[in-house]
Symmetry: C2
Subunit: 194 residues, 2 copies
Amino acid sequence: MNKQTEILNYINKKLNSEGHAPSVREIATAVNLKSTSSVQYHLDNLVKKGHLSKKANLSRSISNNKKITNFKTIPVIGEISAGTPLLAEENKVGEIPILEEKYSKDLFALKVNGDSMIEAGIHDGDIVVIDKNIEPKNGDIGAFMINDTEATIKYLDSISGKKYLIPANKNYKNYEINENTQPVGKVVSLFRDI
Amino acid sequence: MNKQTEILNYINKKLNSEGHAPSVREIATAVNLKSTSSVQYHLDNLVKKGHLSKKANLSRSISNNKKITNFKTIPVIGEISAGTPLLAEENKVGEIPILEEKYSKDLFALKVNGDSMIEAGIHDGDIVVIDKNIEPKNGDIGAFMINDTEATIKYLDSISGKKYLIPANKNYKNYEINENTQPVGKVVSLFRDI
DNA sequence: CATAATTTAGAACATATGTTCGAAAAAAAA
DNA sequence: TTTTTTTTCGAACATATGTTCTAAATTATG
């Protein structure tokens, strides 16, 4: 490996592991160069080639030029235990990445339990992303809390004036919405490990 | 906002925008403190509380303690044009995030075209992640190239000794594997926007 | 109000660090 | 080989930067 890429790799490694850039002298030691000016020589080239950025006369100001795609994570909620608020830490079973541009504070994810929505292509164990900021409308798939103890994913629709939670599975019955049914948000996307 | 969180926010902002930590004096200026020792005072507290890490006597060595969930992206491939290599840039229609721990070089994603796998819960427009390093076995859902011009997602299975690509849709027929059929990889996960 | 705890200030110090320059060494080209 | 280009070295320099200490100012507490 040539010295230049060796230096670049070392810098990237350190940026990642230490959270800050190495000094010129640290680089020199790491890549077996006796003189700091040798390192400068390569740093100049790496900057010219656009691989790195650095600021003049500034300690440890080297940074990586590569475009960073930014993500945020949203919590994945598993079983809801009675009484525990939906997003309580104890319900959390994981995190999933969301592109920053799609991210909003009102997103969270729910691990699907059961096959009541299988005809909508939502399987047991799938993770659905829910936007609390969007109230599910007729025809939408939404997340609903029933009696504050159970979260369920169902179609929402009206049948002869009454509102129902409608499963996508012939083996399950419609559930008429009552005062114990609270809409949580709209299902906006889905993840599955196969 | 109190001084401590003001400092913490400034540091995080700078780490993000500049790629390296600010100096103590830069912090002082930014949060309107006249003395560097005032900043030190708060830095010490932030370190004690576990919000930051820093190394003694080291310039710009402040780093953020929060666990960084690392992601990588894999390319999403759209329509395959005849002759063009599968992963060619011109076939790319986007990127999706993958947790670093799940990431491998051999992952890519394919936008599903059509509803031939709808009974397996894979819909038109879904994005499936394919691991090129795993050769699909009987019973697996795999990605296959047909005649180097078309990528398709199907079940793989044997029927009376012959290997078939089997759709999950009664309206489609099984396709017997021949010399023009190349396995690309196994489908390992799925994304859907609803 | 008096007292204690917290926060800020100022100055001085030690040094880690980037930079520069000329020359030597090594590698590549002619 | 000779010439040119690339790479490395060593030393010296200027300064950006973290640190410490004491005292003052501010805020909280009784």
